[in-house]
């Protein structure tokens, strides 16, 4: 199996999807000749022509409006938003349109073919506007699916599943891992299931739950914890909406403890939803409060980015606190 970094895996997934189905069309700012500012769409225009891979004008609300219409027509648009921080001008088209298209029409029309790809997250010296993790904004919106891969293998399999899913999907790519995360990725076409969490490591002391780039932090923290004799169960949520409640509940029934971590600010972040659900479902099993290790309730900083990030040490400390509660 070839080794690929995450960008290559994403590029490969797009290539695979476009080869298999000529209704798949990729576009966004700079995705044409240039192949996107991160090069996720490299060579696709060359291979599939300008009609199926092209630059758009610089207008996110237009990109998603266009994509909604194209999906309603029966095509499978894969729209790139250059940074997740710049998805907000398209918020109305996503929240009021993509998410509600099927419901409001009684299923006469739908934009199920739509996939929106966008790089998210910190750790790349991006400051306020190249670091945000906006998944929770979308998670509060019935009708959308929200997917975040943790490594190249997942990225290809989940992206292919997203493109072929009959509902509109937001696919958040952890840009810190674009080149940093390298792994084996099958050349062939494969899909990983949406809506299913993955248990990466079994344990019985505490459940550690995260997604995307935070999985790396969780792994490191678990290593530290295991050294102190704490057995960690690690779960990658993979799909934020609809999320796999049962897998998490089962795990917490076993461990009695849960820690959730994300980069986004604490207040209103998706860890809150998970904690609220799990305290309800696992009330009698919980041995300590559900812990949240997240970004601060501030915009994203630059110089003190390392201090801001919910890293493995902060997670490790929270694990110990949970155990010692």
């Amino acid at each position: 199996m070839p080794e690929m970094n995450m960008l290559k895996a994403i590029n490969n997934a797009l290539d695979t999807a476009m080869a298999a189905d000529d209704k798949v069309i990729c576009f966004g700012e700079d995705v044409g000749v240039f192949g996107g500012v991160f090069r996720a769409t490299s060579n696709l225009q060359e291979k599939y022509g300008r009609a199926r891979c092209f630059n758009t004008p610089l207008v996110e609300q237009g990109i998603i409006g266009f994509a909604n219409g194209l999906a309603a027509q029966g095509s499978k648009p894969v729209a790139e938003i250059q940074f997740a921080d710049y998805i907000f001008p398209a918020f109305d088209q996503i929240i009021n349109e993509s998410a509600k298209f099927r419901y409001r029409s009684g299923n006469l029309f739908n934009v199920g073919g739509l996939t929106i790809r966008t790089p998210y997250g910190g750790g790349i010296s991006g400051g306020l506007y190249h670091s945000q993790s906006p998944e929770a904004y979308f998670a509060h919106t019935p009708g959308l699916k929200v997917v975040v891969p943790r490594n190249p293998h997942q990225a290809k399999g989940l992206l292919l599943a997203s493109i072929r899913d009959p509902d509109p999907v937001l696919f958040f790519e952890p840009k810190r891992l674009y080149r940093a995360s390298v792994g084996e990725v099958p050349e062939e076409d494969y899909q990983l299931p949406l809506g299913k969490a993955e248990i990466l490591k079994e344990g019985d002391g505490i459940t550690l739950l995260a997604w995307g780039a935070q999985m790396e932090m969780v792994d490191k923290a678990a290593e530290l914890a295991e050294k102190e004799g704490i057995s960690c169960e690690i779960i990658d949520l993979r799909t934020i909406v609809p999320w796999d409640v049962e897998t998490v509940v089962e795990s917490v029934f076993k461990t009695g403890r849960l820690l959730v971590t994300h980069e986004a600010p604490l207040t209103g972040g998706f860890a809150g939803e998970i904690a609220a659900t799990i305290q309800q479902r696992c009330f009698l099993y919980l041995e300590s409060p559900i812990a949240r290790v997240t970004g601060l309730d501030t915009p994203f900083p630059l110089t003190l980015e390392k201090e801001y990030m919910p890293d493995h040490l902060k997670i490790f400390e929270a694990i110990k606190q949970s155990i010692d509660y």
């Binding site: 758009t56 207008v59 237009g62 219409g69 194209l70 088209q93 349109e97 409001r104 029409s105 009684g106």
Partner: protein, 401 residues
């Protein structure tokens, strides 16, 4: 590279503002139904002319009756097309029936022309079990897949860039179809308008942008909406073909749209049409225009009634008579009232429609939420009369589409 390499050069700093030129208004018919001198009327055979006129008349009658029904408290809300029938029906008639229409909310005439049945209108208006939209949206949010009429969405202007995307798909499909998107001069202020026209021009798609400039956005007059001479000059910013037409002149609208469509489909290029018209009715059943405009202004425009103008033309051709008019009005009225009675008696949509169509396959979480709701309703049946009906409807089965 800049696209302005071939611009002329000047050495004095003179400013332009568009007063240098004006977009004229294209007209064919005078209000008395006769043609302007020099005007060459489009080829419109009797059948088509009558199909158009009947749709306009039906729309007028539907609007009158349903506003009355709203006033009687039988309906929660209504919006009239009154005054703008020619812009809507005339443009629709110039399209192929398979062309996609993505409208704003005041365009029921387009559906009437395409053959949406009176019961189909009514079921939506009453949000009953036969409403295609399953009782989820407010009245007048029609949609029809088979008639290529996109379900209306309340947020303004969102359909405009969607039309650009839809038309891109049509171009890729290569079957010679196009999309028409219809919107008000108010909606044209939204950012989505700019996005849509620019992208359509850059990506060369067969889409017709039809702006109904009816003078008002709720209470806001057009001159507080924009300073320019209407919407038309915006086309120059996109190097897009544009025509302004008298929106109360059915033949001018028809011909302008026919030409626009021909050009759009043959060249895969967008066109902007600005139809100058007037919203004769209130914005909606919740609105009272007396607070923001004069009776006199309304009267002036009532004199330009597009339905009457077409009738006079039809009569001058010998294609229509007083008698036929009376009868047709009578028929429309009766059909509307009968359908209204049928629709308001029908049960609400099945309770399950609360959670279906959120996703293609309903999630376990939603199924659980519905189950809880069902047992709650069973516990308090008097509190949720529609809930009980919709539960029972489901049990009785069969009846629901």
């Amino acid at each position: 590279m800049s696209t302005t390499n071939k611009a002329t050069i000047v050495h004095t700093p003179s400013f332009m503002d568009g007063d240098e030129f004006r977009v004229p208004v294209f007209k064919l018919l005078k209000q008395d139904g006769t043609a302007y001198k020099n005007a060459k009327l489009p080829d419109l055979d009797r059948d088509k002319a009558l199909r158009i006129y009947r749709a306009m008349l039906f729309t007028r009658v539907l609007d009158e009756r349903m506003l009355a029904a709203q006033r009687q408290g039988r309906l929660s809300f209504y919006m009239q097309c009154t005054g703008e029938e020619a812009s809507i029906v005339g443009s629709t008639a110039a399209l192929a029936d398979e062309d996609m229409i993505m409208a704003q909310y005041r365009e029921q005439g387009a559906l009437a022309y395409r053959g949406f049945e009176v019961d189909e209108f009514m079921n939506q208006l009453f949000g009953n079990d036969r409403d295609y939209g399953k009782g989820r949206q407010m009245p007048v949010h029609y949609g029809s897949e088979k008639l290529h009429y996109m379900t209306i969405s309340s947020p303004l202007a969102t359909q405009i860039p969607q039309a650009t995307g839809y038309a891109y798909g049509q171009k890729m499909a290569g079957q010679g179809h196009c999309t028409v998107t219809i919107f008000g001069e108010g909606a044209a202020s939204e950012g989505d308008f700019h996005a849509a026209l620019n992208m359509a021009s850059v990506h060369q798609v067969p889409v017709i942008f039809l702006c109904r400039n009816n003078g008002y956005a709720i209470s806001t007059p057009a001159h507080e909406q924009f300073s320019a001479d209407g919407i038309a000059p915006r086309a120059f910013g996109y190097h897009m073909k544009v025509i302004r037409v008298d929106g109360n002149d059915i033949l001018a609208v028809y011909q302008a749209t026919a030409k626009a469509r021909e050009w759009a489909v043959e060249n895969n290029k967008p066109v902007l049409i600005e139809a100058m018209t007037y919203r004769l009715a209130a914005h909606s059943s919740s609105d009272d225009p007396s607070g923001y405009r004069s009776k006199k202004e309304e009267e002036n425009w009532r004199d330009k009634d597009p339905v009457r103008r077409m009738r006079l033309w039809l009569e001058s051709k010998g294609w229509w008579s007083e008698e036929e008019e009376k009868q047709e009005q009578e028929t429309c009225r009766r059909e509307v009232l009968e359908a209204l009675k049928r629709a308001e008696k029908r049960p609400p949509p099945d309770l399950d429609t609360l959670i279906t169509d959120v996703y293609e396959t309903t999630t376990p979480q939603l199924i659980e939420q519905l189950e809880q709701l069902k047992s709650h309703i069973r516990k308090y049946p008097e509190a949720y009369p529609k809930g009980v009906k919709s539960l029972n409807a489901a049990k009785e089965g069969g009846e629901n589409a």
